[in-house]
C-alpha cells in the first residue's frame, strides 16, 4: 500500500540553525501539507501546497518557514533559524486532489531544538 515517507525520523539541531525536513508524498497525489504537533498537544496545520505554490498557510507559518517541491517526488519544509519553540513532531500529509477528502499522514520527523 502506498504511503507517505519522511526523513529524518529525528533531527536534533541548535537554536538558530537551519533545518530541512523531507517528505515523499504518495506518488499520484497532488496536494501536500505540513502539520506539526507539539508534545502532548493537538495536530496543527502549517501549510498546504499545490501546483508548486502555497495554497494556504496558518499564522504559525511565518517568514522563518518555507516549503518547496525540488523535484517530482520530494516535498520539503525548511525552518531558516530554529527556535526552542519549534521543537515538535512535523508531519507531512498528502491527498490525491482537492476533491479527495482523505489526507494520508507520514510517520513524522521529531525536531528537537537545543
Amino acid at each position: 500500500e502506498p504511503e507517505v515517507t519522511q526523513t529524518p525520523s529525528h533531527q536534533v539541531t541548535q537554536m538558530g540553525q537551519e533545518v530541512i525536513l523531507r517528505c515523499v508524498p504518495i506518488s499520484n497525489h497532488l496536494y501536500f501539507y505540513w502539520y506539526r504537533q507539539i508534545l502532548g498537544q493537538k495536530v496543527e496545520f502549517l501549510v498546504s501546497f499545490y501546483n508548486n505554490e502555497i495554497s494556504e498557510k496558518s499564522e504559525i507559518f511565518d517568514d522563518q518557514f518555507s516549503v518547496e517541491r525540488p523535484d517530482g517526488s520530494n516535498f520539503t519544509l525548511k525552518i531558516r533559524s530554529t527556535k526552542l519553540e519549534d521543537s515538535a513532531m512535523y508531519f507531512c500529509a498528502s491527498t490525491r486532489d482537492l476533491y479527495s477528502y482523505e489526507q494520508y499522514f507520514g510517520p513524522g520527523t521529531r525536531l528537537t531544538v537545543t
Binding site: Y33, K42, V43, S48, F91, Y99, E102, F105, G108
Partner: protein, 113 residues
C-alpha cells in the same frame, strides 16, 4: 470559529466495552469530519470519516454519529480491545483551496484487558 472541541481528554474502558469520544464545532462551513488514530511515535492514521449529509457511518467496530443541528459528532468503538489503546483525534475540513484539517485536542484511550 475554526475550532473543534473534543472530549474527554482521556478515557479508560474495559475490554469489550464501548468507547465514546465526542466532538463539537461551530463553523457550519465544515464539510468533512474524519477521525484519526495515533499510536505513540507514529503519524495520525485515518480511521473513519463522515460527511454532514448522513447521520451515521459504520465500519466494523467503529461508528461515527453525526448531529448536524447540534454541530456535534462522536466516535463509538464497540467491543473495545487493548489494541485500540491510542490517541484519537477528530478533525474537520472546509472545502477551500487549501482544505486544511482542523484537529480536536485528542483523547487518550486506554483499554484494559
Amino acid at each position: 470559529q475554526q475550532q473543534v472541541k473534543q472530549s474527554p481528554q482521556s478515557l479508560i474502558v474495559q475490554k469489550g466495552g464501548i468507547s465514546i469520544i465526542n466532538c463539537a464545532y461551530e463553523n457550519t462551513a465544515f464539510d468533512y469530519f474524519p477521525w484519526y488514530q495515533q499510536f505513540p511515535g507514529k503519524g495520525p492514521a485515518l480511521l473513519i470519516a463522515i460527511r454532514p449529509d448522513v447521520s451515521e457511518k459504520k465500519e466494523g467496530r467503529f461508528t461515527i454519529s453525526f448531529n448536524k443541528s447540534a454541530k456535534q459528532f462522536s466516535l463509538h468503538i464497540m467491543d473495545s480491545q487493548p489494541g485500540d489503546s491510542a490517541t484519537y483525534f477528530c478533525a474537520a475540513r472546509i472545502e477551500t483551496s487549501g482544505s486544511r484539517l482542523t484537529f480536536g485536542e485528542g483523547t487518550q484511550l486506554t483499554v484494559n484487558p
